[in-house]
């Protein structure tokens, strides 16, 4: 199927000739068998499929999703990217992701609206400032543009912030990370879906995985350690495949239990909200760990707010009033001038939290069953690099260097990658 190349000239010509755009991806027929079945049609799943096809020539791949593409965390996150993490493992990983995001519009021929506007993490206490200094030094060692700035510079970058010393939570300083910014998350999903489809990957929407089929494992159904994957049972019939990849969030534990692999994950919702659009006044992304809030302004002028995950584990995605109240209070603490702005809507997404705030990636104790899960609140910014590294991992059936620290075995071997200091609220 021919694909239309997106360009300004193309837009002009089609507009002038009143031509419509062709379908972006095929409505693929489900085959009986594939080389690789990827569960989850979000950024991680689609990126994995794309890099499998592009970098490794593995094109007999299906991406299955129980709803539509990008219906989970990929369409619910607050679209912020950055790489100023705390551990060397984390920094190396997220920095590679930022590189891929940088050239994505050209690579995928779709405008992802990457706005490299800078990212500021505010410190309200001495201990927070100390952690910022620590992070800045770790970042500088790894060649990441990141430094601690004082209230005067903060005021210059974001004049709407209250940096006076008489507020309840005075702003003492901030970790400033110029390469951070925002990206349109839907465009990333569509870009990967379109590119993967062009390379021959089948995108199967509204196809729910009901079971992961295994043989030879330790339990009575042949699942668990020592076994191998033979395929999946879906709501549209069975698919046989020697490799099944779990790229889901929210349902990762349930799917993984189907293969007999228990995960160190608890699922918490994270709520976000957006205001009515106003004239642009906030040029950077502003994050406050102590106040559990992060704010950015979209190109349309809406303020997007996010928070930390709700404290109680639940799969319920209903918004709550106490979240809105708390959020509004905290945002006004930072920017008292916006008290008359109205909230437009709020929503929630499911976050799979791990004990060390780092993901779980790569092969597992079941042969052919790969995971790319436990992405907590930081899955969006890691999408491209996860796809690239998971594809490498699947093609070679091993751990590439960048994801080796995120092996599931680290929990039973006691080698956790503690990112809580930089990932708990930091978006």
């Amino acid at each position: 199927m021919g694909k239309a190349k997106y360009s300004a000239a193309g837009l002009f010509i089609r507009g002038a000739r009143k031509k419509t755009w062709p379908r972006v991806w095929r409505e693929a027929e489900m085959k009986e068998s594939y080389d690789v079945v990827i569960i989850g049609g979000g950024i991680h799943g689609l990126a994995t499929a794309y890099y499998l096809a592009k970098n490794h020539g593995i094109t007999n791949v299906a991406v299955v999703d129980k709803a539509y593409l990008g219906s989970g965390g990929s369409g619910r996150n607050t679209a912020i990217v950055r790489s100023n993490y705390l551990t060397p493992e984390g920094v190396a990983f997220y920095d590679r992701s930022l590189d891929l995001y940088n050239t994505m519009s050209i690579d995928l021929n779709i405008n992802v609206m990457f706005s490299e506007r800078g990212h500021m993490t505010l410190a309200h206490t001495d201990s927070a400032l100390r952690t910022m200094n620590w992070r800045a030094e770790v970042n500088k060692l790894q060649d990441i543009d990141s430094s601690v700035i004082g209230p005067d510079e903060i005021k210059k970058l974001a004049p709407s912030l209250d940096v006076s010393s008489d507020s309840r939570y005075p702003i003492l300083g901030a970790l400033y990370h110029p390469p951070g910014g925002t990206i349109r998350h839907d465009a990333v999903v569509w870009g990967y879906a379109r590119a993967a489809d062009t390379l021959g990957v089948d995108l199967l929407q509204k196809t729910e995985v009901l079971d992961i089929l295994c043989e030879g494992g330790e339990d009575e159904h042949g699942k668990g350690a020592g076994g191998k994957v033979t395929g999946v049972r879906t709501s549209r019939g069975n698919i046989s495949a020697p490799i099944v990849v779990n790229c889901t969030a929210g349902w990762a534990s349930q799917l993984s239990n189907m293969a007999g692999v228990r995960l160190p994950i608890t699922t918490h919702p994270l709520q976000a909200a957006v205001t009515e659009p106003v004239k642009t006044f906030l040029p950077t992304v502003v994050v406050s760990g102590s106040l559990h809030v992060y704010v950015s302004q979209t190109d349309r002028g809406e303020l997007v707010f996010g928070a930390s995950v709700d404290p109680v584990a639940t799969y319920d995605m209903r918004g709550t009033l106490e979240f809105t109240e708390e959020l509004a209070g905290h945002v006004l603490e930072l920017m008292p001038g916006i008290s008359k702005m109205r909230l437009l809507r709020q929503w929630a997404g499911l976050c799979d939290m791990t004990p060390d705030y780092s993901p779980v990636m790569g092969p597992t104790q079941v042969d052919g069953y790969f995971v790319d899960v436990g992405w907590g609140t930081y899955g969006f910014k890691a999408g491209p690099v996860s796809g690239e590294q998971m594809a490498l991992s699947i093609a070679n059936n091993n751990f590439p260097e960048l994801i080796a620290p995120f092996d599931l075995k680290r929990f039973t071997e006691g080698e956790l990658v503690g990112e809580k200091g930089a990932a708990a609220v930091g978006h």
Binding site: S253, P264, I265, T267, A313, D316, P355, T412
Partner: protein
């Protein structure tokens, strides 16, 4: 907000409590192998359905107790009786 029935204080806002996560029986640290201990520490069932979990009445009577909660609908069942630590009988 979720109302959590503390066996001593009665139903209170979840924000008055500390959430302790999934309740699993703790292996004896002297007997357990490293693998068993770390499995207990880190691995979770994380069901979308009924879950037995730990709560701590941190701004009330400071009692630890267990509760059965549905993680999708938020329903509660078998609340602990006054004086007891574990969820009520039957299920």
């Amino acid at each position: 907000m979720l109302f959590v029935p503390c066996p001593n204080c009665g139903p209170r806002n979840a924000s008055d409590m500390s959430y302790g996560g999934e309740a699993h029986s703790r292996p004896d640290p002297k007997e357990a192998s490293q693998k068993e201990w770390r499995t207990y520490l880190y691995l979770r069932d994380n069901p979308s359905g009924w879950l037995k979990e730990n709560w701590y009445c941190s701004s009330g009577c400071r009692k630890h107790f267990q509760l059965e909660r549905h993680t999708l609908t938020g329903e509660l069942r078998n609340p602990p009786l006054p004086g007891s630590k574990t969820a009520g009988g039957g299920s």
